[in-house]
């Protein structure tokens, strides 16, 4: 909904197809298009298509964003997002990385958000991956570590000096911080409770390090 508003707000002075207008054929453009009438055929835009409640689009649509409050019959291929609002009715396939279907919308067809969503992976993965992959994962633990560093007198980032700091902290709240702390602690001494996922990675690291030294 918030998306619909912000995009609709940006669409102020652009192309509008009024309620009594019928366009049949091919329509292309590089600006936002608001449809209150009918568009049939083919519709290609590099910006946002807004089909208002009175709008009817019977076309194959290729756009960046689509907000459907009216009727769409045909396939929508969006590079960014497709939103079916409460009044939206659609028959056809949607291909877009973000698809929003609001309660009240009517839709029949297939949805394809792609194999790997580029928007979400970088957000969710590092949290899981950092403790296992990187020994230098002290980054998330840093807010805890600094108090212990001045006595150590070493600005070196590797885990050994941070060990005493990481240990006395009893409740490390987020799993990422816990993993990092546990990983750092387990390197020197066998740390007590290690989360299962991180534990596997951390153990491997421990073994490797011991052998190396």
């Amino acid at each position: 909904m918030a998306i619909a508003k912000e995009l609709a707000g940006a669409a102020g002075n652009n192309t509008v197809v009024g309620p009594s207008i019928l366009i049949s054929g091919k329509l292309t453009g590089d600006e936002d298009l608001t449809v209150r009438g009918r568009v049939e055929g083919e519709l290609t835009l590099s910006k946002t298509l807004i089909v208002e409640t009175t709008g009817v689009v019977k076309a194959n649509v290729a756009v960046k964003n689509a907000i459907v409050s009216g009727v769409v019959v045909g396939n929508i291929n969006a590079t960014e997002s497709v939103e079916l609002t409460r009044e939206g009715r659609m028959v056809g396939d949607i291909h877009a990385p973000r698809v929003i279907i609001v309660d009240g919308a009517s839709f029949r067809g297939r949805v394809d958000m792609g194999e790997v969503e580029p928007g979400r992976v970088p957000v969710s993965r590092p949290v899981v991956a950092r403790p296992t992959v990187r020994p230098g994962a002290t980054v998330p633990a840093r807010p805890v570590a600094p108090p212990a560093r001045p006595p150590a007198g070493r600005p070196a980032p590797p885990p050994p000096p941070a060990r005493p700091a990481a240990k006395p902290v009893p409740p490390p709240p987020p799993p990422a911080a816990a993993g990092a702390a546990a990983g750092a602690a387990s390197r020197g001494e066998p740390a007590a409770p290690v989360p299962p996922v991180v534990g596997a990675g951390a153990k491997k690291k421990v073994v490797v390090k011991k052998k190396a030294r």
């Binding site: 652009n14 207008i21 091919k26 329509l27």
Partner: protein, 107 residues
């Protein structure tokens, strides 16, 4: 009044019909039939046969124009095609090539 606007970056290849005013700032090829007024603005390019009540052209039009009321060619417009309407106005500076037919019986 003019709720339909075809923006400057829009290209339509096909047919536009309707009962309301239409403003064209972009490109339309094919056919336009309206019951109201058509405004082709300075940036507008129309390669189409036009059938409306009123037409005001400040841009470029290639095609035949039939209007039930009035056709107005503004300064700096470029029109190629035949015009048929009871009232036809051609402003100083307009460029036009084609036939003009103001015969009221025939329309």
């Amino acid at each position: 009044m003019a709720n339909t606007v075809i923006g400057s970056s829009i290209v339509i290849d096909g047919e536009i019909s309707g009962d309301e005013d239409l403003v064209i700032q972009g490109t339309v090829k094919g056919r336009i039939s309206l019951k109201e007024s058509l405004y082709v603005e300075g940036s507008g390019v129309v390669e189409a046969d036009i059938e409306t009540q009123n037409v005001e052209i400040a841009g470029r039009v290639t095609g035949n124009i039939v209007a039930s009321d009035k056709v107005e060619l503004k300064q700096d417009c470029r029109v190629v095609g035949d015009i048929k309407a009871p009232r036809i106005l051609i402003a100083d500076g307009a460029s036009f090539k084609g036939n003009v037919d103001m015969d009221q019986k025939e329309r």
